[in-house]
């Protein structure tokens, strides 16, 4: 009998026992799903976006189901960095699983300040910098829309933290390459992609937008092929590792991302309909490696045959 394949990766200094995490905003702060998913089985837990102060988010309805996924405009509701550290981090720290905190702000200073605060406490493994949320008026996507603002933001945050920095890029750009390069050159240690794709749903009877925020972001299986293309493009442009997300509903889509060039993957919307998805993805990647006689998941990353 051969040895089990090695699923472990070192993602820019974050030591993950397997290349699978959960997508920010789809897994709360870990605690909410802890009854159903053994958090210690995950490569990392990525939590909902945090800014400096508590934030209320958007009015309801905040989501709508669509063919192939959902459109959401939660609007980054959260407890603020102090609330997160006080109320949510201790539980996660206790589990021992690497914790990636997704951060946002409405100014460069705010991003940098949140990063600094999270660098001073025990139990944060990395920072995912959300510069691509379509659902808040200020901040988020406005920083992600131009390679220069991406570079400036990443550089500003870089100065205030030694934690691995993982900018999360917007999918709705003409070419992802200059954004990936700008982030890498400014000191990013890894990249996350993709965030939701800006979307809108109109009720044809009332002729009103369904979401209170009018527009939102599309997630779920519908966006997976879009994400594969963007991950593939980005992987060719930079040498830093990529965490890929967008429409994973089983091991197949996760493996596809790894082949396209991702070092790790995140399960998002699929958790809502099946919380066991993330565990199925981990087991499925291992089974795939066995079947293809690979000894390490690292062999899979970027193995696409062109």
């Amino acid at each position: 009998m051969s040895a089990r394949p090695d699923l472990a990766i070192d993602l820019a200094g974050i030591r993950m026992k397997n290349p699978v995490t959960v997508a920010s905003g789809t897994f709360g702060y870990g605690k909410e799903y802890a009854h159903l998913v053994d958090l210690r089985a995950l490569g990392a837990v990525t939590v909902k976006g945090i800014r400096l102060q508590p934030w209320e988010g958007n009015a309801l309805p905040r989501h709508v189901e669509v063919p192939g996924g959902m459109v959401n405009a939660i609007g980054l509701q959260g407890p603020g960095v102090v609330g997160f550290i006080r109320d949510y981090l201790p539980f996660l720290r206790e589990t021992g699983v690497p914790v990636i905190v997704n951060i946002w702000g409405t100014s460069q200073d705010e991003y940098a300040e949140v990063a600094a605060r999270l660098s001073d406490v025990e139990g944060v493994a990395g920072l995912e910098v959300n510069i691509s949320c379509p659902n808040v008026k200020e901040g988020g996507a406005s920083f992600g829309a131009d390679p220069r603002t991406v570079a400036a933001l990443v550089a500003a945050v870089r100065q205030r933290t030694r934690l691995p920095l993982i900018p999360k890029l917007a999918p709705n750009v003409p070419s992802i390459k200059p954004f990936a390069q700008a982030a890498a050159d400014a000191g990013a240690d890894a990249l996350s992609l993709i965030n939701t794709i800006p979307a809108m749903v109109i009720d044809i009877e009332t002729r009103r937008p369904v979401l209170a925020n009018q527009v939102g972001g599309l997630s779920g299986p519908a966006i997976h092929p879009v994400a594969v293309k963007l991950v593939w493009d980005a992987a060719q442009a930079v040498r830093i590792p990529i965490i890929a997300m967008g429409g994973i509903s089983g091991p197949e889509q996760a493996i596809e991302f790894l082949i396209a060039g991702a070092a790790a993957v995140a399960v998002g919307t699929a958790t809502f309909s099946d919380p066991g998805t993330v565990l199925r993805v981990i087991a499925g990647i291992e089974a795939y490696l066995v079947r293809h006689r690979m000894t390490s998941v690292r062999e899979l990353t970027g193995s696409v045959r062109i």
């Binding site: 909410e32 159903l36 905040r62 989501h63 959401n72 509701q77 779920g220």
Partner: protein
């Protein structure tokens, strides 16, 4: 809380729009408390479809009973379920109603399928009292026998007058309150938002405690996604944003900060 594969035992048609689904779900049925709900993955919809939340209507041994109204594509699929069919079911979720009425007369106020968790409540609390059931027409008035068989008094109201009083369910409620000015009551309500708000106002006006079960569209059902929020005000005046799925769906009526109708 469990995420299990549940098996259909039977399905009964109650009226054109309402059905009762009986399922084998031992772990959930045994833990279920009145006011809690389950999150159901509808087989027959695409795999990415969101789950649908339903109140627990009854729990007996290994069996769980849901009472649902057919309103859209998910509930239409539920109509097709036959004995032996299976689907994923998460539950019991949320916090239920308190079972101690503290010597007060329990007044249950139900609108449409909101009667389901209240029927479960009536079967689990020792006290007896009044049940008010409202609906659009006579076809929306369900479960009367569940209550009367257990010694509860039932009054009904319909918007078209086809059953009981002609009007909103607050009509028989106001009549009862006028006739019993001195009797201490405790309210339990489940139904449309406007109805819950009206009940909360009545409870406040007679200085009685009240509990309302809110119905908000849900995604995760466990408190992770923040799709189902409701603003609340604590007795000390501090406001906070509750997740209906995790912090509710049952809340003290006096603590809900009611939204204005659009």
């Amino acid at each position: 809380m469990h995420d299990i594969v549940a098996k259909v035992r039977s399905q009964e048609t109650l009226s054109a729009d309402y059905r009762c689904l009986v399922i084998e779900a031992p772990a959930i049925a045994r833990a279920a408390q009145p006011g809690q709900f389950v999150h159901l993955r509808v087989s027959g919809l695409e795999t990415s479809a969101l789950r649908r939340p339903f109140s627990i209507y009854r729990a007996e041994g290994d069996l769980l009973f849901l009472l649902y109204k057919t309103v859209g594509r998910g509930t239409e699929q539920l109509n097709r379920l036959r004995a032996g069919d299976t689907f994923a079911l998460m539950g019991p979720l949320g916090n239920g109603f308190p079972l101690d009425t503290g010597g007060r007369t329990p007044i249950l106020v139900a609108g449409g399928y909101g009667v389901a968790p209240l029927a479960f409540l009536a079967s689990r609390i020792p006290a007896r009292g009044l049940v008010l059931i409202g609906g659009r027409t006579a076809a929306d008035i369900l479960c009367e026998d569940d209550f009367t068989a257990r010694g509860w008094e039932v009054r009904t109201a319909t918007l078209d007058g086809s059953r009981g009083e002609n009007g909103l369910v607050t009509l028989p409620l106001d009549n009862w309150l006028a006739a019993h000015p001195a009797s201490p009551a405790v309210f339990f309500a489940c139904g449309p938002y406007g109805m819950l708000r009206a009940v909360a106002e009545r409870a406040a006006s007679v200085l009685a405690p009240g509990w309302v079960s809110l119905d908000k569209h849900m995604v995760c059902g466990v408190g992770a996604c923040l799709a189902c929020v409701q603003r609340m005000r604590r007795p000390d005046g501090a406001t906070w944003i509750a997740r209906v799925c995790r912090d509710g769906p049952v809340f003290p009526a006096a603590e809900v900060v009611w939204e204005e109708p659009k």
